[in-house]
Symmetry: C2
Subunit: 550 residues, 2 copies
């Protein structure tokens, strides 16, 4: 399971920048007992200057490990008991009433009842992607009754980037909050890159197996067949991949429906399968052999991420017959996967104007019987290449609110180039914003507590706390320091936008003290209080601002 | 009207970076005749390598002018005929059936009928902010049946920044697409800064007059009174300010409603008026003297931007009794302003979770009888200081779609510091995205044409066109060049994300050609075609990718 020693290209020294990235945060482990095992659930505790603290969901995994050693196989003891089983999926256990260690783990992680986790998985409304060959995984759950998750894509391509860069990109992505990662490598070393990624990944790893298949047949799409696909997924199952994007819904009859589109087929996997169908005038071999995929995947508990190969690639193509035709087929395939107790989520678009987003969510829930939706954005306009993390964060937040369980990030480089380290961070932060905004809109109490803590810190001029409660404390602090660099400014009772004389927060302190005295009821009491307060206020010298701090 | 010669602090040399910022774009003037005048309406024409071009709305104004000279007073001839009139508002003329030069100008700018512009203004559903003392203005319209507009805030504060920086910031903001600008200066030189800004502004300028009033009374809120306010707005009317934010809806009885809020009152103007009310135990003097404001403003045609002094400053405080109480009063004031034929828009929040955004829009339309809504964001979460251009672009796009006519930008420095040049650009671009996404969702044909042009360029591998059609061509090109710097790559039939072998766009070309041949109808024809195509495809050597370009 360890990466081979022949390619020690990963970074020489173990890296962590957790302490610098999240000042006054530290990782805490919530320990619970389940099935004779002690499960240790990670949280990030943010210590405030008020003496309070806030625990937030933490996806960053063990930091500072040597990539050549990989992460500790924390699930190994749990998996012992399942050895030799024919079907080891979480769905299989959930339907039989079993709360696995993984389910107990995510229940504690999400702050919900383990039985609720089990029931959501059992009805297919949530998935817990966790290949039994990926023991390093810190279990997480994807479903719309849990926190909205985000995925970051990594992966080299023929054009550039190397294995150590990919492992480091993964570490960096989870540091900022990625809940899963897809390894979209298409170049050489595809197997070895994946091995390094998996052995160092605390989050589920997804792949698009057809990419490796295409490498195996020398890039000739028409030479693809089900055998090479089967061999490839066996190989990847063995390595520990947690979910596969499989474009089994690109049917022959849907392909002509893309003919009048502005941008045709924009999914790589989708276009490959469409081309194969054309070359052979045959139905998609992933569709015709779908049950055989289930047979393999249930032995490892690899989840389906049913690919939307016909997703729209521009605003003009959104919600068309090709897209919704494929979605119907994905619903049909969901039923087949569930028959085998294989977990399923459904991939979604893409490029969709705001007024058509909800239709996507509603149709998906109905057609795929509430299997979790996993969307790429959607981008809400095409005219801002260079800023597609923003065009898509808008759509992602909305569809997350409407019910999408996981949002695939988009970086500023989308449509233009390969994301570098900073692009990955920008994409992850934009998507943490979208996911969190969705959690708030869905009424998640834990999400609201985070906003309240930050806003309270803001109102009370606890600048350090405001920075440290931010998704990106260092950037928040840097922006503040550009205008008011002095250390004193971090305890100042005003901010640099308004200066000391125009600080609304400061003025409000007086207003509040007064209003609490008078209460918000009777108009009479109010008038009376006003008179009193006015006199008192003037007696104190009529000073509006506390001058001591400015 | 010219800035005084005693403070020639503006940049020495006229600046423009229009040509570098928008390669292969140039300004064109659409000339129309109206009332004996030739009106010259600006557009930006983007020349494509396909030989086509796309004209887009252009707010950038005359570039390359010497700030010491100011812009040409293009409206002066139009204004001659209105001299000596008691009421010169666009609303006044519109209600009397007159299509002014300004209305004809915006009609051509928006591509609609002049009579439609007049009728929208007449019913108060749109405003055309255009002080008769601001002849340099290129007229624009704010209303939900027109393109969604964005505002950029500029303005020095006591903490830092100078006059020439503000003029340059204005030029920079309109270059990237700001439709109006608010000068929020609060420090010294407030009058002179504004003079320079106005004389160099092709867009409407808004102010918050209470800031200058507070300077005049030495920062003592309790010393404010209506006389100083009246004197101040007379001064600003004379200078040419186009709209005033006036917090006349912060009534005494609403103030205690903010007592239990997490962040109290966050509007500067709102907190000043609340404090004044407390100090005097009297009703807001802007409310009690509202008609006197109308008397002054109608002589210049300065529009009201009725301030939401009690807007929520955090997610927890959204849509509360204080906020909606004030909105009721703003509706009442709208009627009074309309009685005087003074144009009105209504300011809105702020910080609002997604699920509460629509309620804001619906209530505003009803309460203020469809007067245009002008919102700050709203921010959809509080936990991302440093990224509030993104947290708020989400809310701005949504509320724009729901019907907000103008979106006040938020920069990455919001809550942290004063925006610099790059922050202004980041804020403007994020808001151009939000506004454009809203236009698309509202079904604006011109907006859709822009997306289609870019997507078509993308599909046809016209990289240069894809860059030049972007909101920010230079950034798009830079991002592309980081991965594939060679000039040849800009004509390559693949992009760097996938490499030549996995290009879905390329594959689609074949799919499309085939599908067009077969048609999308009969299944039989399809099967027949498939057989033919398969044979033909193999006969050609079965090559999937054109190798000539890679």
């Amino acid at each position: 399971m360890k990466p081979s020693n022949t390619s020690p290209r990963a970074a020489d020294a173990p890296k962590t920048d957790f302490p610098e990235s999240f000042p006054r945060s530290h990782k805490v482990a919530l320990e619970i007992e389940h099935g004779g095992h002690t499960l240790s659930i990670p949280k990030r505790r943010i210590h405030l200057t008020s003496g309070e603290s806030l625990d937030v969901y933490d996806s960053s995994g063990p930091q500072g490990r040597d990539p050549r050693q990989g992460l500790a196989p924390l699930r190994e003891p749990w998996l012992q008991a399942r050895k030799g089983q024919e079907n080891v999926t979480q769905l299989h256990y959930a339907r039989r009433g079993v709360v696995t260690e993984e389910m107990a783990y995510v229940a504690a992680r999400e702050g919900v009842d383990p039985e609720f986790v089990r029931s959501e998985i059992a009805r297919g409304r949530a998935i817990l992607p966790a290949n039994v060959r990926h023991p390093e995984l810190e279990p997480m759950i994807i479903g719309r009754n849990f926190l909205v998750k985000i995925n970051a894509n990594i992966g080299n391509s023929v054009v550039r980037s190397s294995i150590d860069e990919e492992v480091e990109k993964l570490r960096w992505a989870v540091l900022w909050g990625a809940d899963t990662a897809m390894d979209l490598s298409t170049g050489e070393d595809i197997h070895e890159t994946r091995e390094w990624v998996l052995r160092n990944s605390p989050v589920p790893i997804g792949t698009v197996p057809i990419y490796q298949c295409l490498e195996k047949v020398g890039g000739k799409i028409e030479d693809l067949d089900f055998d090479v696909f089967l061999e490839t997924i066996e190989e990847q199952c063995e390595q520990g991949v947690d979910y596969f994007t499989i474009h089994a819904g690109v049917l022959l009859r849907y392909v002509p429906l893309t003919a009048k589109r502005v941008t045709g087929i924009v999914s790589r996997g989708g276009s490959i399968m469409a081309k194969w169908c054309l070359a052979h005038h045959k139905e998609n071999f992933l569709y015709t052999n779908f049950e055989r995929l289930c047979e393999v995947m249930k032995r490892y508990d690899v989840s389906f991420s049913l690919g939307d190969g016909l997703r729209p690639g521009c605003i003009a193509d959104a919600n068309d017959a090709a897209q919704f035709g494929e979605l119907e087929t994905l619903g049909e395939l969901t039923d087949i996967a569930w028959k085998h107790d294989v977990q399923v989520m459904i991939e979604g678009p893409g490029h969709v104007p705001m007024h058509l987003i909800k239709e996507n969510m509603d149709k998906q829930l109905e057609t795929c019987r509430e299997a979790p939706f996993y969307t790429l954005g959607p981008l809400t306009t095409d005219i801002a290449p260079g800023y597609d993390h923003i065009t898509s964060a808008i759509g992602a937040a909305m569809i997350g609110w409407y019910g999408t369980a996981m949002l695939c990030y988009v970086t500023p480089k989308e449509h233009l180039g390969l994301p570098d380290r900073d692009d990955v961070k920008q994409g992850v932060i934009a998507y943490k914003i979208a996911a969190h905004a969705a959690d708030l809109a869905k009424g998640h109490a834990g999400a609201q507590a985070w906003d309240d803590a930050l806003s309270k810190a803001r109102f009370e001029f606890r600048w350090e706390d405001q920075f440290n409660l931010s998704l990106d404390p260092i950037t928040a602090r840097e922006y503040h320091d550009e205008t008011l660099p002095a250390d004193g400014a971090k305890t100042a009772h005003f901010c640099s936008m308004c200066g000391p004389q125009f600080c609304s927060m400061k003025i409000t302190e007086d207003v509040r003290a007064y209003a609490e005295e008078v209460g918000v009821e009777g108009e009479e009491a109010l008038e009376e209080g006003m008179r009193e307060k006015s006199a008192e206020f003037r007696a104190q010298g009529g000073e509006i601002y506390s001058k001591s701090k400015a």
